[in-house]
């Protein structure tokens, strides 16, 4: 238990090992630990961000879907309207066409009737003329006249 040079030997080696620890041990370990800390913090940040992004994307997707549905509904409605319109138009057209055809047919029928009447009148006139002529020729003979008129009457 004598105090001797060991004291200074220990003192110097103590200082040396502190220096060694600072230079070759502490700095490297603390550095890697800090780096890891930063890495972990970054990772957590990124995870948070990704989560938020996902949420945002989901929201966007839902909105898009809603929009698309709305648009589809609008298109269908429009198409229905257009179809109805087309049908209505077709009906209208058919009706007018029918009316027109009917009118034309009636006109033709009338025309035909008029012509027939005309023809009949002409025939009657001719027949009357022919009868008158025959009456005039056989005026002398009573019996002949009689026969003529009878004949005419038979011809009518």
């Amino acid at each position: 238990m004598n105090i001797n040079l060991t004291l200074f030997g220990q003192l110097i080696s103590f200082l040396f090992f502190i220096w060694f620890c600072k230079k070759f041990v502490w700095t490297a370990i603390i550095h890697s630990m800090e780096e890891r800390q930063k890495k972990i913090a970054d990772g957590l940040d990124a995870a948070d961000r990704a989560f938020r992004d996902l949420e945002l994307a989901q929201e966007k997707a839902t909105e898009r879907l809603k929009d698309a549905k709305q648009e589809a509904a609008a298109i269908i409605e429009q198409a229905n309207k257009r179809a109805n319109q087309i049908v209505d138009e077709a009906k209208e057209q058919a009706k007018t066409e029918g009316d027109r055809l009917k009118v034309a047919a009636q006109a033709e029928i009338e025309q035909e009737m008029n012509r027939a009447k005309e023809e009949l009148r002409e025939s009657v006139a001719t027949l009357a003329l022919a009868g008158a002529e025959k009456i005039l020729k056989a005026n002398i003979d009573e019996s002949t006249n009689r026969a003529l008129v009878d004949d005419l009457a038979a011809q009518l």
């Binding site: 001797n4 220990q10 502190i18 620890c21 502490w26 630990m33």
Partner: protein, 298 residues
């Protein structure tokens, strides 16, 4: 008979408490062959065993942690790196708790102190006779001489039971306290701290009377720091080692006493695990606190 046993016991203890001292003997430079011879060497001698074991343990510490530092990556730590990072984190946390200045040397110093002192104390758990007997055998002494307790090969394997070791570290810390006090506060500030507290007065004559009183008080406080630091560790480890030696003596007292000694040794060793860790921790924390005080500018 009783006296003889007592003498043998005293010799056994004495043998265990004598350092392997290298210094100037009557026959020139060499190792001391007895405690008395070692004492006669005076200051110009070296306790080769304590200093050797101390440096060897510091090399183990440096090697271990250097290996860890080399392999340190910012990726997932495994095995050895986990342990080393745990130690570093623990020391760093302690330093951050107690040290409020800015000094990049404090934390690595605290780590060195903690692990090194722990390793030195850990040597206490090696059974007291193992390493001395191996040393004596290497030295070429016969088994008969060793077992009869007349061996002259001294080997004290726990460096922290040597006051030279603990006071050497304390002295280094004392130097750091002075250095940082002057560096942070300036010579004027440091001298002022030593002379103007705790008593002060507005009257310059009264103040002049107070100055020597203050200086005496503060110097005692200043010097008590390294001494208490070194002697606390030394005292605790010395006492623990002494008890291990006393228990080891029981092995020579027959089967029953030997068995009882075995139980005692186990119990004391388990308790000692707590003590050695605690002492290493206290040494580290007090060093940090003293240096923190040195950095505080009033």
């Amino acid at each position: 008979m009783a006296g003889e046993t007592q003498e043998a016991g005293t010799g056994y203890i004495q043998h265990h408490l004598t350092n392997l001292t290298y210094g100037q003997t009557e026959h020139g430079w060499g190792f001391a062959h007895s405690a008395q011879e070692a004492a006669e060497m005076g200051f110009m001698s070296v306790n080769v065993d304590s200093l050797g074991w101390s440096i060897a343990l510091a090399v183990v510490f440096s090697f271990l942690f250097r290996l860890g530092a080399k392999r340190a990556t910012s990726g997932v730590p495994t095995g050895m790196q986990n342990f080393i990072e745990m130690m570093v984190e623990f020391v760093d946390g302690t330093v951050k708790d107690s040290f409020h200045g800015r000094n990049p040397w404090i934390a690595p110093m605290a780590l060195t102190i903690f692990v090194w002192v722990f390793f030195m104390n850990l040597m206490d758990l090696v059974p007291v006779d193992v390493l001395p007997v191996i040393a004596a055998l290497i030295n070429g002494e016969s088994w008969e001489v060793i077992s009869s307790g007349r061996s002259h090969t001294y080997m004290k394997v726990v460096p922290s039971t040597d006051p030279n070791i603990t006071l050497g570290m304390a002295l280094a810390i004392f130097g750091m306290i002075i250095y940082y006090s002057i560096k942070v506060k300036g010579i004027g500030g440091f001298v002022g701290e030593l002379t103007l507290q705790p008593f002060s007065a507005k009257n310059p004559i009264v103040q002049a009377i107070f100055i020597p009183i203050n200086l005496a008080l503060e110097l005692v406080g200043l010097l008590a720091k390294p001494f208490s630091l070194g002697l606390r560790l030394f005292g605790n480890m010395y006492a623990g080692e002494m008890i291990f030696i006393l228990i080891a003596m029981m092995y020579g007292g027959g089967l029953l006493l030997g068995a009882f000694g075995g139980v005692l040794q186990l119990g004391w060793a388990i308790f000692h695990i707590l003590i050695i860790t605690l002492q290493a921790f206290i040494f580290m924390v007090l060093t940090i606190v003293y240096l923190s005080m040195a950095h505080e500018d009033h």
